[in-house]
Each structure stands twice: as structure tokens, then as C-alpha cells.
Amino acid sequence: MNADNDHKVIIAEGVTKEYSDNGLPVMALRGIDLTIEQGEFAAIVGPSGSGKTTFLNVVSGLDSITEGSVRLDGKLLSTMSGRELSDYRRDRIGFIFQAYNLIPVLTVEENVEYIMLLQGIDKKERHRRVRDLLAQLGLDGMADRLPSRLSGGQQQRVAVARAIVSRPALVLADEPTANLDSKTALDLIDMMRRLNEESGVTFVFSTHDSMIMARARRLIVLKDGRIDRDEAQA
């Protein structure tokens, strides 16, 4: 890896993903070449079926690729074992899902500290980070609630807290605002952008919401599994 790659969080080269749908081959990604630099706040947009979720899945090692290569922090994903991928995701990537995907039997506080527990961070530090983050995200007084007792917006904020509390280098968010009303969605995106600016965490998120797209500093448009457009925004 040369010096130019030091600031590149994701390097995708010729990424192709083909899967079978009821026995029929479907090309979800067709030779994607893409680089994400450290500290970016990039949106991957496109209509349903354009390959946004598949792209996020393959660059995080949640799904395999058919052809091409993906490097995360310079490491070639295809050479990593399942265990190494799992550890890598735990230590370097934060995930925000469209359906929140909080652990239903854990409280807000336990959900947020979950990854830190996996990382072996001591209790005092975990509680300090959770407390600070919940306050920052407007979730004061909800630490002991179960996810089922929170609104969609609150659950997604908990998911954001879970994604960033372990201070990952990269946060991947798959349509994080899809289940939220417009105001809550904008608040969430503003909050993510603020975190990006304040802590330098790289955010890559998929969306097809035009209001949200406007908040991104880089817009990557996917169409039929190909990059149709890749442009910077003010």
C-alpha cells in the first residue's frame, strides 16, 4: 500500500456482485470502481434495485463479491477469514440500518455499550461514553428503556449511538431515514453530519430521499448496478 492509500478508507475496484433470485441470475453490481476518503460524508443514491444496499454490504464484508476487489483501510477483504472480518467490523465499522436493528432484549444503554463490551472496554469508560452520547443525541432519561418503548426516530438515534460509540473509522448507513418522518430524518442527517465534522468519522449512507441527498457532500448515483454519476456537493 502506498502513501496515497493512507487516507483511503474504501477502495473498490471492478466490484461485481451476481446472485441468484429464484434460480435466475441477477447482476446487482457491475464493475464498480469507487474510493472513499477518510472524513467523507457521502451519499449513495439511486432507485430501488440500483445496488445501494448490496454495495454497502460488500464493502463491509457482510456479503461476498463475484469479481473485483475491496480494500478497507488497505486490507483486502477477500483475504480475511470470517473471524477476522467479524473483528474488523467490530473495531472499525459502525452500522446504521434502515430497520434500526437494535437488540430487542437489551435496554438503550446496553444496546449502545454492546460493541464496547465486545471490544473489552472497561465499565467506567463504557458508561462515560454511553452517558455522553445519549445526552448528545437527546436520549437523556431513556437509558433503561427497551427499544420497543421508543419511537422510530428515537430507535434510530440509539442505532446511531451504537454505531459511533466505539469510535469507528467508518460508519455505513443503509437508508437510515427511510422509516422516519421528514423532520426526524433531517434532524438525524444533520446530527450525522455534525458528528462527521466534529469527530472526522467517515459516513457513507444510502438514500433515495432528495432532501437527505442535499445534505451530503458527495453524491454517488447508482443505476442498474453501475455508477452513473459521482460528484461533490457544497
Binding site: L62, N101, P104, L118
Partner: protein
């Protein structure tokens, strides 16, 4: 700790399913426990009745007597040996016996008999001899030319209490042994077959008849408890310091009875296997359903960095938690039932005879085996049944699993 916390809370998510699974395992535990307690209790009862009432737990004979009984293979100076036995730990009582065969005649009826010389006082203390006298009375303490007949023999000889019986046998000195005795009682030992030939004499009378003064063929010993009889037998052997006299446990001198008991006991393992199979199917069904339902969650856990081993442990632990709860509740249920049945027993619809003893009621026994064997079986069954579903959960492909609803 985290894995345990999630597993614990997951166990309470599907309350109805968890309750049913716990009930399946609880039922399995309780049934297995009762089954073992019943089997052990019954066999302990049968063995105790058989040994305590007749044979004794340990017997002393002259070497080779058990293989080939003979009038001449005697234990000499039993009056010195007896008190020595009492110094051995766990020995409770001992009774000397003399055996021979002969011909008994009452009036015009004659029959071959097995002459059994007993010390009435010691025999009563050792094998409750007096309780077996169903008609008339037991021997006077001093030898008085008295005889007791097995009920079957009395029937054959058409003898009754008060009649005189003439016995003809062979003395140890080669002489013809014969004498006249008065029948003072009839004996029902529980061994109907034996009672057809049994003729009891006071030990001193028998020794005189057979010219075997101060000699016996057997010393029956009863000890405290049925466990580790080998150790007691070895201790007796060491204490008496007579290599020509052998101490044997009931498993040796009543080998056919012991083998039959062991074979019978194997049947209870089949019952245990069936119970385990039912529990395994119940657990497997529950865990498989759970894993399929939570596929998405396992996908999320894997996506955010939970290792496959942690997911695996989470699933197994959830089952173990249910198994432990089942074991605790099952132990309470099993204890109550076993305790009740150990006191009241269960009346058998048809009495049966085993080893010559008639049983009309059997009892359970409360022992450690009846708890730890079901506990180990239930835990192992639960863990084994959850291995495949746990592996499925651990190996979910995160992206695909998260697409499931």
C-alpha cells in the same frame, strides 16, 4: 456475561414456548428421577429382604464349600470367630448354621429333608427368624429336641404342631444319625420351594445329631447398608486371620440372583433413553423454531461484530438456562413424589415372588443417583439438541439474514 444476559432475556421472550420447553424438560427430569428412584428402591428392597431375611449380606464358609458343599467342610470354633466379627466396622449381627440332608418321618409319612441347624437367638437377631414362624412357636433358647418344619414340608408329611418327627441322617463320624424331635412350629421363610424340604433344629441338637460339635457350615453376617460390601468382607477376612475360611458377599454366594437382578435393572436404562429421546425432540423443535425466528437478529449481531462463537454460545446458553430451571423445578417435584412413595410405596396389583421372597408393595428410595443422573442427562440432551441450531445461528450470512422478516 453479555452472552449470558442476552441468553437469559431471550429465554423469556416467547413465554409460552419457553414454558412448554421447560415443562418438557421438567417432566423428563422428574420421570427419569422417579424411574431411577423406583428402580433403585425396588431392588434395594428386594435385595434387603432377600439378604436380611434369609442369606445375610456376607457369609463365611470353609474354602470350597460354596463350589461343592460337604458335611465335612466346616468352620471350626465358630464361638471364637463370632465375637471377632463383631469388632469389624458395620457388622451388625451374625448367625451360625449347620446344613445336612436326611429323611424325616411323621407317623407313616416320610420325606427327604434339608436339615438346618440354627442358633435361635442369633438367627432371630440376624434374619428375624421368629417372624417366619407362622404357626406354633420358635425354639426354646436351650436345646430341647425341638424341630420346626417348613410349611410345605409339614403339608407333605401331614404334620402339625405337637407331632413327633424322626430324622435319619449320617453323622460326620460315619455313624447313622437318628433321633426323635417334637414339632413346635411351622416356618414360612418366603421361599416356598425351600419350605417344602426345610427342617430346622436347634444348632446344638443338630451338632449332636450330626456329630459336629462346635462346628458349623456357615456364618451369616448382616451389616449396616448394602454399599461397599466387598470392603466389609475384606475387613472380615483380615480380622479373622483364618485363610481356610472365606468371607463372600451376597453377590458371590447368590450369584444367579445377583445376575438376574442386574439384568432386570438394565431395563430401567431403556426407560431413561426413551425419556431423553422425548426431551431431545422437544428441545430440538424449540431451538430450531427460535433460531429460524431470530435469524435476522443473529444476522445483525454478526454484522456489528459479534463472533460466530459468541452467537453459538448464546443459543446453547439459552437452552442451558431453561434446562437448569427445569432441573431445579424437576428436583422439587421428583423429591416430593419420591419422598411420598418411599413412605407409602405402591401396592402391586399382583404380588410377586423374587428370590423366594413375596412382594406386594414396592418403595422408591431417595438417593443422589436419582437426581444427578437425570440432571446430567437433561443438560447433555439439551446441549446436544441445541448444537445444530446453534451452529446454524452462528453461521448465518449477515446480509442474507438481515433481509429476512
Amino acid at each position: 456475561m453479555l452472552t449470558f444476559k442476552i441468553a437469559l432475556r431471550n429465554s423469556f421472550r416467547q413465554k409460552r414456548r419457553t414454558t412448554l420447553t421447560v415443562l418438557t424438560m421438567l417432566g423428563g427430569f422428574a420421570l427419569a428421577s422417579i424411574s431411577i428412584a423406583w428402580s433403585d428402591g425396588s431392588y434395594a428392597y428386594v435385595i434387603d429382604m432377600f439378604t436380611r431375611n434369609q442369606m445375610g449380606h456376607i457369609q463365611l464358609h470353609r474354602a470350597g464349600y460354596l463350589d461343592r458343599p460337604s458335611l465335612y467342610k466346616t468352620v471350626d470354633d465358630y464361638k471364637t470367630l463370632g465375637p471377632a466379627l463383631e469388632t469389624v466396622e458395620r457388622v451388625q449381627d451374625w448367625a451360625p448354621r449347620l446344613y445336612s440332608s436326611g429323611l424325616a418321618s411323621v407317623g407313616e409319612k416320610s420325606s427327604g429333608v434339608r436339615i438346618i441347624g440354627v442358633d435361635p437367638e442369633r438367627e432371630t437377631a440376624t434374619t428375624r427368624f421368629d417372624k417366619k414362624v407362622t404357626e406354633g412357636r420358635s425354639f426354646s433358647l436351650a436345646p430341647s429336641q425341638e424341630a420346626l418344619l417348613g410349611t410345605g414340608l409339614a403339608k407333605t408329611l401331614k404334620a402339625k404342631v405337637g407331632d413327633e418327627v424322626v430324622i435319619v441322617s449320617q453323622g460326620a463320624d460315619g455313624s447313622i444319625a437318628n433321633d426323635l424331635y417334637r414339632i413346635v412350629g411351622l416356618v414360612s421363610s418366603g421361599d416356598a420351594f425351600g419350605d417344602r424340604t426345610a427342617l430346622y433344629l436347634h444348632l446344638t441338637d443338630a451338632q449332636e445329631l450330626l456329630v459336629l460339635e462346635n462346628r458349623v457350615h456357615e456364618i451369616a453376617v448382616v451389616v449396616d447398608g448394602l454399599d461397599d460390601l466387598d470392603e466389609v468382607a475384606a475387613a472380615i477376612q483380615t480380622t479373622i486371620q483364618q485363610p481356610e475360611v472365606e468371607a463372600a458377599t451376597w453377590q458371590e454366594f447368590a450369584r444367579s440372583f445377583y445376575v438376574a437382578m442386574r439384568a432386570d435393572q438394565q431395563g430401567s436404562w431403556i426407560m431413561l433413553f426413551v425419556i431423553i429421546l422425548v426431551v431431545a425432540v422437544g428441545v430440538l423443535n424449540t431451538v430450531l423454531m427460535t433460531v429460524l425466528e431470530r435469524r435476522r437478529e443473529y444476522g445483525v449481531l454478526r454484522a456489528i461484530g459479534t463472533g460466530p462463537g459468541q452467537v453459538f454460545r448464546m443459543v446453547v446458553m439459552e437452552v442451558v438456562i431453561m434446562a437448569v430451571v427445569s432441573m431445579i423445578l424437576g428436583s422439587v417435584v421428583a423429591y416430593i413424589v419420591n419422598y411420598q412413595l418411599s413412605i407409602e410405596g405402591i401396592a402391586l396389583p399382583t404380588a410377586f415372588t423374587y428370590g423366594g421372597v413375596t412382594f406386594d408393595r414396592l418403595y422408591t428410595i431417595i438417593n443422589a443417583r436419582s437426581f444427578y443422573i437425570p440432571a446430567v442427562c437433561i443438560i447433555l440432551t439439551a446441549v446436544v439438541a441445541s448444537l445444530v441450531p446453534a451452529q446454524m445461528a452462528a453461521r448465518v450470512a449477515p446480509a442474507r439474514a438481515m433481509r429476512t422478516h
